[in-house]
């Protein structure tokens, strides 16, 4: 009886939508006329777009780029920050607060802020990297990203005196995402404080260096949490929507480089009213996400160390 609100919610908000979207993915449906069964046509269309620079193909490769870079990067930066922030040092809580604070900033406000920070003309980011000798980047005005075959060409042209424009809009989005890594850091910090000091003492007696202690004590002890954050980070990254929408004003521009699956799906459904096509896209995304998650679970056996219950 106590669970009845949730059961009702499950039926209305999950079970029925789940079945309906699976059925509609096999239909032509524009919200006004009743759905018309068309078999696998939507899926055929999605498949035909893979590998091309339009529709689902473009959205898929943009999403892959964003997730494959931002998720591991967030994990690496998060672990390193947590280790640094766990040293017993004066003002520790102040440093922790400053690193955590960006993650509570509302996405829309953060996106507005970064639109300005990443401005090629007057943005602070270009100003700061110029101190390091890196020329100003076009960030949100460039569709190409840093990890792409064309970057090799840009580098060779740079030696011939061409401007070095490596980073693009997706890299900007990744930068903004990593800035909000604070809540992952909190999880790592909690896990770090659970590591028994005896392990470090034992390692010290064995003469282990700081680096060895990090690789052979800290990382294995953190591995369950790292695994958890990898899975959650992956799920979260493919669902990123508000920041993409605000940064590109709902267009996925420049050059469609911010057209991720979530935005493409939203526009296909509510701008083009192709509900069938959008539903099919959602299902492909869901299956891909399931496959990636179960792959992570598979590999986790080899690197995740669960502590035996004490």
């Amino acid at each position: 009886m106590f669970c009845s609100p949730w059961i009702l919610g499950f039926l209305l908000l999950f079970a029925w939508p789940f079945v309906a979207s699976l059925y509609w993915s096999l239909c032509r449906f524009d919200l006004i006329n009743p759905p018309e069964f068309v078999g696998l046509e939507n899926y055929r269309r999605l498949a035909s777009e893979i590998g091309t620079d339009r529709g689902f193909g473009r959205a898929l490769s943009n999403t892959l780029y964003f997730s494959l870079i931002s998720v591991p990067l967030s994990v690496a930066v998060g672990v390193m920050l947590a280790v640094a922030l766990s040293t017993k040092i004066k003002g520790q809580s102040v440093y922790r607060t400053l690193v955590f604070l960006p993650s509570v900033i509302p996405v829309v406000a953060a996106s507005v802020l970064w639109l300005w920070l990443l401005d090629p003309e007057c943005g602070m980011v270009n100003y700061l990297i110029s101190w390091l000798g890196i020329p100003g980047q076009n960030w949100l005005n460039q569709s190409r990203s840093v990890i792409s075959p064309e970057s090799v060409g840009v580098l060779t042209n740079w030696f011939n005196g061409q401007p070095l424009k490596l980073f693009g809009s997706k890299d900007a989005l990744i930068l903004m995402t990593v800035w909000g890594v604070g809540n992952f850091v909190v999880i790592y910090l909690a896990a770090l404080s659970d590591i028994p000091t005896a392990l470090y003492e034992a390692a010290e007696i064995d003469g282990a260096s700081a680096l060895r202690k990090f690789w052979h004590v800290t990382i294995p002890m953190l591995s369950p949490v790292i695994f958890f954050n990898l899975v959650m980070g992956l799920i979260r990254s493919v669902q990123t929507f508000a920041s993409i929408y605000v940064l590109s004003e709902g267009t996925g521009e420049p050059g469609g480089s911010l057209m991720m699956i979530s935005l493409q799906l939203f526009l296909s459904a509510f701008a083009d009213f192709e509900m069938g096509y959008a539903s099919a896209m959602a299902w492909i995304l869901f299956v891909l996400l399931l496959a990636c998650t179960s792959l992570l679970f598979r590999t986790s056996r080899h690197w995740v160390h669960y502590r035996a219950a004490a």
Binding site: C3, P5, L12, V99, C122, A210
Partner: protein, 273 residues
């Protein structure tokens, strides 16, 4: 760490914190600069003069107070809806024994893994069919039916309450509802506060919901209103930043007031997950 690496650790921590907080400092300082200084000299942190009038101008260039009122209605509605519904469901999943309980609990956890993409279109159709399109109920309604993440969080907390207390309540003749209201809820204030806080922040920040379900500008909440503001005042950076600060400030204040709740909420759900 050995003592020799101390200054280095200090320096690195200082540098990292500076990098993480710089955008926020710039947002604050930019919101106080004159439009002219912002273009001529965008990198100096200290404003030449403190233009508090930017805030007034930002308030006037969009219906800020109306957006704020809408956000507050949504926040209050969603917080009440979630706390109540999730507490009831979590009670049923932790303190009442019945067949199929384990099964339902794994379904609850399972829904957390389902991306919103799959359910978005049918939910939209359902909400329109119910005549809730362009109504706050489109956003508040679903919170009355529970949220997997919060149910999970509350259930974990409820399980830590000693069974003897419930035993004693039963001897005193309390029904299930009596146990729920008189024993469980008073003991669960910290967990309920975490849920309320997280739901508040989530609703305050929510952009997708209003984008999907609201189309009357009179009903826009702040998050959506601010985005509309970007499209129409994109070149007025000083006003944009002032509006962003006004939108962010309550959340930052809330964070400082309830820092402990925030941090504990994140770390417990993270680890228990």
């Amino acid at each position: 760490m050995k003592t020799s690496s101390r200054p280095l650790t200090y320096f690195l921590l200082w540098l990292v914190s500076a990098i993480f907080s710089l955008p926020l400092i710039l947002m604050l300082s930019g919101s106080l600069k004159s439009s002219e200084q912002l273009t001529r000299d965008p990198y100096r942190i200290w404003p030449e003069q403190w233009n508090w009038s930017n805030y007034l101008a930002a308030l006037e260039s969009m219906p800020f107070l109306s957006y704020l009122a809408n956000t507050m209605v949504l926040c209050v509605g969603c917080v009440m809806g979630t706390t109540l519904s999730c507490a009831v469901v979590a009670y049923g999943l932790s303190r009442v024994q019945w067949r199929g309980q384990k099964w339902i609990f794994s379904l609850v956890v399972g829904t957390m893994l389902l991306p919103w993409h799959v359910t978005m279109i049918p939910r939209f159709v359902l909400i329109s069919q119910l005549g809730l399109y362009n109504s706050f109920w489109a956003i508040i309604g679903p919170t009355l039916l529970g949220d997997a993440f919060f149910i999970f969080l509350l259930r974990q907390f409820f399980l830590t309450i000693p069974e003897q207390l419930f035993e004693a309540g039963r001897i005193d003749g309390l029904s299930h509802w009596g146990l729920f209201w008189k024993i469980l809820l008073p003991l669960s204030r910290p967990a309920l506060a975490t849920v309320a806080l997280f739901q508040f922040v989530q609703t305050w920040n929510d952009f997708g919901g209003p984008l999907l379900y609201l189309n009357d500008p009179k009903k826009f909440p702040l998050a959506y209103g601010l985005e509309r503001f970007v499209s129409s005042y994109g070149d007025q950076t000083h006003l944009l930043l002032a509006a962003a600060v006004l939108f962010t400030l309550p959340i930052v204040v809330l964070f400082f007031l309830a820092q402990r709740t925030f941090i504990q909420g994140i770390s417990t759900t993270g680890i228990k997950g």
